[in-house]
Each structure stands twice: as C-alpha cells, then as structure tokens.
C-alpha cells in the first residue's frame, strides 16, 4: 500500500497546466517537460495500488498535481456514495494534491450510474442539496473542494434562477470556490442563448480557484446551433477571447488545458498551455492558489 507523500501538499501555481492522460504518462516521466502542474481524473487512480497509482505518485514527485473528480454525482437526489468518497479521501491523503475538484452536476440515481455530467435544474431544492453535499465532502476530505460549472445541452422548464446565479449562490452559501470552465460558459451561452460575459460578470474574483479551457465540436445537423463539450479540439478563438476577459476581471488563477478525445501529441497540449500562459502573463504576476 502506498504511503502518503513526504512533504505535504504541494500548491498548484497560478500558471497554465495540462490534463495528463495515460498515453502521455511515459513521455512525462521520461522527458520531464517544464509544465507547472498536471491535473488527472481522480477515479482512474482509486485502486489500492498497481501501475496507475504508482505512475501518478511518480509524477507527483516532480510536479504539483490537481485531482479532478468526475464520478461523485454530488447533485444526485440519492445519498452520496460513501465508498466513492472514502476512496477519494484515501487518494487525497496519498497524493497530497494542490487542488481537489468535482462538478456542479448529477450522474446517478437509484444505484444506476450514467458516468456523465448531467445538468441540474437551477432551483432552490438543487441548490440546498449541493450546499449540503459540498459541506459533506469538505468535511470528509478535511480540505476545500472546488466545483466546476458543466456544459449542458438542455435546460428545464421549472428553473427559478440562471446558471450563474446558481453557481454564485453555491459559492456564497457553501464557502467553496469554482473551477471556472470558460469553454463550458461559451458552449452554454451558444446552446442556451445568453451572453457569456453576463456569466463572467456574475462571478466574484474570490470565487475562482482555477480556470479550465478545452475545445468543443459543433453539431451541424440540428435546427439551432448546438456545441458539444468534446475535449477533442484546440481551444476555439471566441473561448480564448472570453478567457482573456475572464482573467482580466477575475484575476490570475491556475489554468488547465484539457484534451480527452483524439488526444494529440504532447507538444500540441504544451503549445495550447503556453498560449494560456501568455494571457496570464499579460494580466499580472502569478500567485499561488492553495
């Protein structure tokens, strides 16, 4: 069984990092590219040993790491999966990550898991549930949990607030901060017909713990524009523009370049991260996030 890393938590710097996926493990361990931090999906390392966890711990010896969960289903009307939470807490103890994050979404009901980031209705009921779940997780982990705004392809007819009102209220009531996914804001703005800057304006600088950037694809066979948060393409030009405005308003924070499908060569990810870094550099000096 792996012991916790010596030296404690290594903060994630307010610079542009890269989402690390298995095809790039060997390159990163052998070449040690100059990347400020790596982010991984927590669930891939839940095993109580084995080669994947061993790889992550070796990466962690050389880089700050952020753990980004996709399976906790915080917004499920069911109870939280205690075994999943226990495994996350064990991983956090082992890895001593600079940041730990999850999503403003649900993904399971009645014991059935959809393993997707499904949209919550923006209602008082869902907000109260999320506030209590964030508190439960933060208590279990003994540290802060960041929450990411998700992309969505539908809205519900009975919602009583906008997405930005919902996430801002969640931050205020729970005390958590956001992984502000700029691509998701843009995707939702197109999909649901709102001004992306309205979302950014509703968020206070102290609510942000990290930015995410990724690429989308557009569905072209529908009557209205619909963007899919596919993580399979470079960051789009309007998302870079929105990110620049978000950094100017919300400050310099760790920024992650995510790419999950049709993963390109590592150098492509580095180039995208450098572009994000240039925007951070132009906005101010880097600060440590955690």
């Amino acid at each position: 069984m792996s012991a916790p890393l010596a030296g404690g938590v290594q903060p994630v710097p307010a610079r542009a990092g890269i989402g690390l996926r298995p095809p790039h493990f060997n390159h990163v361990l052998q070449a040690r590219p100059p990347v400020p931090f790596f982010e991984v999906h927590s669930e891939n390392f839940f095993a109580d040993g084995g080669p994947l966890l061993d790889t992550l711990l070796r990466v962690r010896e050389h880089y700050p790491v952020s753990l980004h969960g996709v399976g906790l289903s915080l917004g499920s009307a069911d109870c939280i999966d205690r075994e999943h939470l226990r495994q996350l807490a064990t991983l956090v103890t082992r890895v001593q990550p600079g940041l730990v994050s999850e999503h403003v979404c649900w993904g399971a009901i009645g014991g059935r898991h959809f393993n997707d980031l499904l949209p919550l209705p923006y209602t008082e009921e869902a907000l109260a549930l999320m506030v209590s779940r964030v508190d439960q997780v933060q208590q279990a982990l003994g540290r802060e949990l960041l929450l990411e705004n998700v992309s969505s392809y539908l809205r519900y007819t009975h919602e009583t607030m906008s997405e930005w009102e919902f996430v801002a209220a969640l931050c205020r009531r729970s005390g958590c901060r956001l992984v502000l996914d700029v691509n998701n804001i843009y995707v939702n703005a197109i999909n649901h017909g709102f001004d992306a800057d309205t979302f950014v304006q509703a968020i206070a600088p102290q609510m942000v713990g990290e930015f995410h950037l990724a690429g989308f694809t557009a569905k072209t066979d529908l009557a209205v524009p619909l963007l899919i948060d596919s993580h399979s393409a470079p960051v789009a030009a309007p998302v870079w523009d929105l990110y620049t405005r978000a950094v100017a308003r919300l400050g310099v924070h760790p920024t992650l370049l995510e790419w999950d499908t049709d993963l390109p060569a590592f150098a492509v990810l580095e180039a995208e991260a450098k572009r994000a870094q240039a925007i951070l550099d132009a906005s101010g000096t880097g600060e440590v996030a955690a």
């Binding site: 069984m1 669930e43 790889t55 009307a77 059935r112 209602t123 392809y153 009975h158």
Partner: protein
Amino acid sequence: MSRGPSLGQLQYAFAAMMQDDLGSLPVWVAGNGLEPVARLRVYRHSIRAVHASALETTFPALLAWVGEACFADLCDRVAAQTPSRSGNLQHYGAGMAAQVSASAVLATYPWLPDLARLEWQRQACLLAPDMSRGDTRHLMRALADAEGDVRLRLAPHVHAMDVAYDVLDLWRHAIEPGPNMPSIRRSACGVVLWRDGGQVAMQSVSVATARAVSALIEGCALSLALQRAGLDDAMPMLQLLVEGQWLADIEPVSDLPVPGA
C-alpha cells in the same frame, strides 16, 4: 417557469428515458428551438459513448476480433442488462462475457466468451491492491515445517481461471497481430494472471492447477484446494507460487479462528 418535478422525480425520469421510457421528461425540458427529445438524445448518445469507451479500454482484444459494429451492439446489451453501478468506470464491464455468450451472431465463435472473461480478469489483476511480497525463504521454511494443514495467502493481484479454449494466443494476436493466425482449438486449460513490473502477465497452466489456485484465492485451506482441483501432487503448484513470488503468507489452519466460536 412552471411548477415542476422534485429533483428525485426528474432524475428517475431521466433514468427511465435511458431505457426508452420518455414519460414526462420532455415536458420538463425547455426546447428553445429544438424538440426536447432531440436535446435528450444528445445525452443518450453521450452516455452510450462514455460507457462504450470504457468497455473498449477493458476489452481491446474482443473489440479487435468482433469489429466495431458488433462491439457497439455488445456495449448496448451490457448497458441494458448490467448497467454501471459505480462512479468509477474501471468497474464497469462484468457483464460482457455473459452478453458475448448470449449473442446469436457470435454463436459460431464459441471461444469469444473465454476471451471476454480473460480480459475481465486482466482488469481485476490491474486494479488489485498492492501487497508486499513475503520472504520466500521464510515462507518455504514455514511450509516445510508445517505439521498440519495450512492456508496460503496469495498476493491480491494473482488471479486464475479455467477456459474451454486456449485463448492466450488469440488475445496476443489481437493486441499485436503477427503474420500467422493462431489456431483456434477447443482445449481446456488454465490461466494464471499476475502483475509483473506494472504489466499484467499471463501463463497457461493445467486446469487442475488453475482451479487449485482459484480455491486458494477464495481462502480454502491447501488440502481442500487440492481436493477441489483433483490434484494429488501439490509440488508443481507450490513451485509455481514460489517462483512467481505470489505467496504473501502461510498460516496454520489450526491457528485460525473457528467460524462461529
């Protein structure tokens, strides 16, 4: 805005939608220029793709042998019959071998269920906990000195199975195709799987040896494991366990607590 469902009602309706029961869900979805059903279809497609991708990762050889279209059909059957029960997709796919067995299209390839079982065992081996190896000399001495029956505790990553077809070569050919197609022969054999340097290793053994190792993994005492497997001579299996450094501990059966005492 309209009076809507509770969060639980909405989420259960979503679950029903995934099983082709749209119910009231479209009424609660804002169309905004699209039919609500078209918006829901995006999620159906996305969830299907996520689950299929997980199965492609776990069953690469099966995918190579049956092709993408057939594999996609198998993925849909697995999702319908044995849906995901965890937020961690690494545990999704236990039902694949059963779906391969049940497939009429694949009935002429009777070795495919064994291949699927092999890949599921590989996944279990990959995800098994770490455990420090026992000192081999100490363990051998304990084994030699044992006066009665013993229980052999194996490293958690060691797995064993018996198969009706020798599928090891078929698996290897799918992952790294060579110039010669391996022969497909019905020949019952055993397979032992373990982790070696971060990789899953596999070795053919006799059916009896595989069954004895399986019984040890289940916690049977050595004598019962040998009896179950029909093995008269324990030495070849013990040699395998020692050489593979798979033995973690040896406990005299008499020292173990008696269940219910």
